[in-house]
């Protein structure tokens, strides 16, 4: 890659900033598109959150209070789909859009118009999911995994969901292609692969995972669609098909999907912790290899979701040991983060708090994952609240906390304003406390045998459910602190300096704040240390 290539890309960029609605509708600037992604995923986070509160309201006490079981099932299904495909994945893509070009010295994403498409496919898909609540038969109710034969039977809502998944799949594949090409082809001279920031590595590997498995999801839901309408029998036992086959294909997508939502979080934390510990990231090279090996192993463990489907014992053992093996590279990462903090000159601004919260709570979720990987134990815990507790520790305290960390960390660079540190700290402690009150009791509920996805429960589960419901509502309201902080700080925040964090030393902090609309129009000449630390920079003009 040389400078000439970079400038060629840059010459395609309009030099004036478009105004009004057109700026967003026809957006090709990576920063505008990143902003769109982030606001969209926040809206989806709120929608999915409202559904979660609907679920928790129903589960506050035994018996049916608010919803019929059918609607309850629709709420659990859509909550999962909206959070996974609407909130978490687009949020990471949005951050990658915003920050990758700044962190590796590229003028923009590689395919600016395709970038516009990948974003603008999202709102129609979200709309399809939302309106499915009001079609005859209601929304899809088979769980976010859309298991056959439930999904081959549902009403029209299931069809809308399948179309929405197709659109979301196309969107995320295009987004991922953009990320791969940008990271591989548009790095500034000196920003070599084995020096670039962990966030770039994590985004690159995640993008490869998306390209590899989103088509598999699209394929399997297409089979559901043809089973529903075109008389095929892929998953219909009466016609010679096999419903368990659905699970095999779905989880071939599903487990790598778990890492699509986790690896970017690892990347963010690997940028934030060194900044606030004022120490270089411990074991950068091992981080890169750990991330890659997690990605490769994630293709070999899918059937750990299927221990109760009557698999032969040999297969159970294989998937059990392969799953446990993933704990090794994950352990390497946790060790490296802790070692980075060791004897560091740490300060605890909001991004660092969320990053440390991430490390602690994600590790708890990882450990309950190791417990679930034991086939003999999993047969007891399959489809109980223990599983719900496990994946909310890795997705809420994991993915979501890392996203908050990232938004607070890069907020000054994005907006040129400082957020309110007081409100940020309040948001963190509030979220930390109520998150644990919501999800920790679910471990006990699961161990006691409470099944998931059921609107009613036996009386002995009442107390822990009441605690979890109160926690969920408080956690939910706490997110308004975040919203208020963001909106207020964008309008009235203190102006931010170019480098608001003393220990920040990657490329995005070497340019003006807020990041100029067209940055690195001419690629800079860089000398780079591990994890994208800028040792020397020449050039890199902007407008």
């Amino acid at each position: 890659m040389n400078i000439a290539d970079g400038t060629q890309v840059a010459s395609h960029i309009q030099h004036d900033k478009p105004r009004g609605l057109a700026r967003w509708l026809f957006a090709t600037n990576h920063k505008d598109i990143g902003t769109l992604y982030l606001w969209f995923s926040f809206a989806m986070f709120i929608s999915g959150g409202v559904m979660a509160l609907g679920i928790r309201a129903e589960l506050f006490s035994p018996g049916l209070q608010f919803w019929q079981p059918e609607l309850f099932n629709q709420l659990t299904t859509l909550h999962g789909l909206v959070m996974v495909f609407g909130a978490i994945m687009p949020a990471f893509t949005g951050l990658a859009n915003w920050m990758l070009p700044l962190m590796i010295g590229a003028p923009d994403m590689a395919f600016a118009r395709m970038n516009n498409w990948s974003f603008w496919l999202l709102p129609p898909a979200a709309l399809l999911l939302m309106i499915s609540f009001w079609v005859p038969g209601g929304a899809a109710a088979a769980g976010w995994t859309l298991y056959a034969p439930l999904s081959t039977q549902g009403g029209m809502g299931t069809d809308l969901t399948i179309f929405a998944i197709h659109i979301l799949g196309v969107s995320s594949i295009m987004g991922a292609i953009n990320i791969v090409v940008t990271v591989l082809n548009l790095r500034a001279p000196g920003m070599t692969l084995m020096k670039m920031p962990m966030f770039a590595w994590a985004s690159l590997i995640t993008a490869y995972l998306i390209i590899a498995v989103m088509p598999v999801l699209a394929g399997v839901v297409t089979m559901v669609l043809t089973d529903r309408h075109f008389g095929t029998h892929f998953f219909n036992a009466a016609g010679g098909g096999d419903p368990v086959m659905y699970q095999h294909i779905f989880w071939f997508f599903g487990h790598p999907e778990v890492y699509i939502m986790a690896l970017p979080a690892f990347g963010i934390v690997s940028q934030v912790i060194p900044t606030f510990a004022r120490k270089p990231l411990f074991g950068y090279t091992s981080m890169v290899y750990a991330t890659s090996s997690i990605a490769i192993l994630s293709f070999m463990v899918w059937a750990h979701h299927m221990f109760t489907t009557g698999m032969p014992a040999t297969a159970q053992l294989f998937f059990m040991y392969a799953t446990m093996l993933i704990a090794v590279p994950t352990g390497v990462k946790v060790f490296n983060w802790v070692a980075t903090m060791w004897e560091g000159a740490m300060t605890f601004e909001t991004p660092m708090l969320f990053a440390i919260g991430f490390v602690m709570l994600f590790t708890i979720g990882g450990l309950s994952g190791v417990i679930l990987s034991v086939a003999a134990v999993d047969i007891q815990l399959q489809d109980t609240y223990y599983v719900v507790a496990h994946f909310h520790y890795v997705l809420v305290a994991g993915a979501l906390f890392s996203l908050f960390s990232a938004v607070y960390y890069w907020f000054p660079k994005m907006t040129g304003k400082m957020y309110s540190e007081k409100l940020g700290q309040l948001h963190f402690w509030w979220s930390l406390v109520w998150f644990n009150i919501t999800f920790f009791p679910m471990h006990f509920l699961g161990l006691a045998g409470m099944p998931r996805r059921i609107p009613d429960y036996a009386l002995q589960f009442t107390d822990f459910n009441a605690i979890a419901s109160v926690g969920a509502f408080m956690f939910g309201f706490g997110q308004l602190i975040f919203f208020y902080n963001m909106v207020r700080s964008i309008r009235h925040g203190q102006p931010a300096p170019q480098k608001p964090w003393e220990g920040a030393n990657t490329l995005e902090w070497a340019i003006a704040t807020p990041a100029p609309y067209h940055s690195f129009v001419v690629a800079p000449q860089l000398e780079v240390g591990d994890n994208g630390v800028i040792l020397e920079m020449k050039g890199g003009e902007h407008h």
Binding site: I173, I177, V181, V213, G219, F234, H248
Partner: protein, 175 residues
């Protein structure tokens, strides 16, 4: 720019191949399961090797039994309690089942073998346990069980018991 387009095309190709891979998984699973036999829940009987002489039948004592779980309206009894037979021969035994209640019921008989290791050597040709049986109030019926004890029965199993337990099929009312 050209580099970018080439990479774009390669990545699109990967995406398309993975879409095809999802569909290819259907036959792939089938072939893998067939070749490795890891998913063979029902095993077909192996054909006897050609030219091998059939072992002569050996005497075996058969005991017949039946139980009913407490509270259920069934009376079940075999018409003979025990008999001597030879392996490789057809054996027929009759069971009498009565619905002692005054309602219509549907029952399902579940066989059990003692010792359990003898189970695979009893090949049933006909049995009332093959399907659910409907009974009118107070009705009594006789059912045959026809089976062969395999010639491969290990020598240490010289006596085996066949016992039935009859259950109600809940939610089913005989029509």
């Amino acid at each position: 720019m050209r580099d970018n387009r080439i990479l774009l095309k390669k990545l699109l190709l990967i995406a398309c191949l993975m879409f095809g891979f999802a569909w290819a998984l259907i036959p792939m699973y089938r072939v893998i399961c067939e070749v490795t036999g890891i998913n063979r829940v029902v095993k077909a009987d192996a054909a006897p090797a050609a030219g091998s002489s059939i072992a002569p039948g050996v005497p075996v004592k058969l005991v017949f039994d039946a139980n009913v779980q407490a509270g259920l309206p069934w009376q079940v009894k075999p018409l003979v309690r025990s008999m001597m037979a030879r392996t490789g021969e057809f054996v027929r035994v009759d069971y009498e089942i009565t619905n002692a209640s005054n309602r219509r019921v549907v029952g399902q008989a579940i066989p059990r073998y003692l010792p359990a290791a003898a189970g695979p050597y009893v090949h049933k040709l006909d049995c009332f346990c093959f399907k659910e049986q409907a009974f009118a109030p107070g009705e009594t019926r006789r059912f045959p069980v026809v089976f062969v004890v395999s010639r491969e029965l290990p020598a240490e199993l010289s006596e085996l018991t066949l016992a039935y337990t009859v259950f109600d099929v809940p939610g089913k009312v005989a029509s």
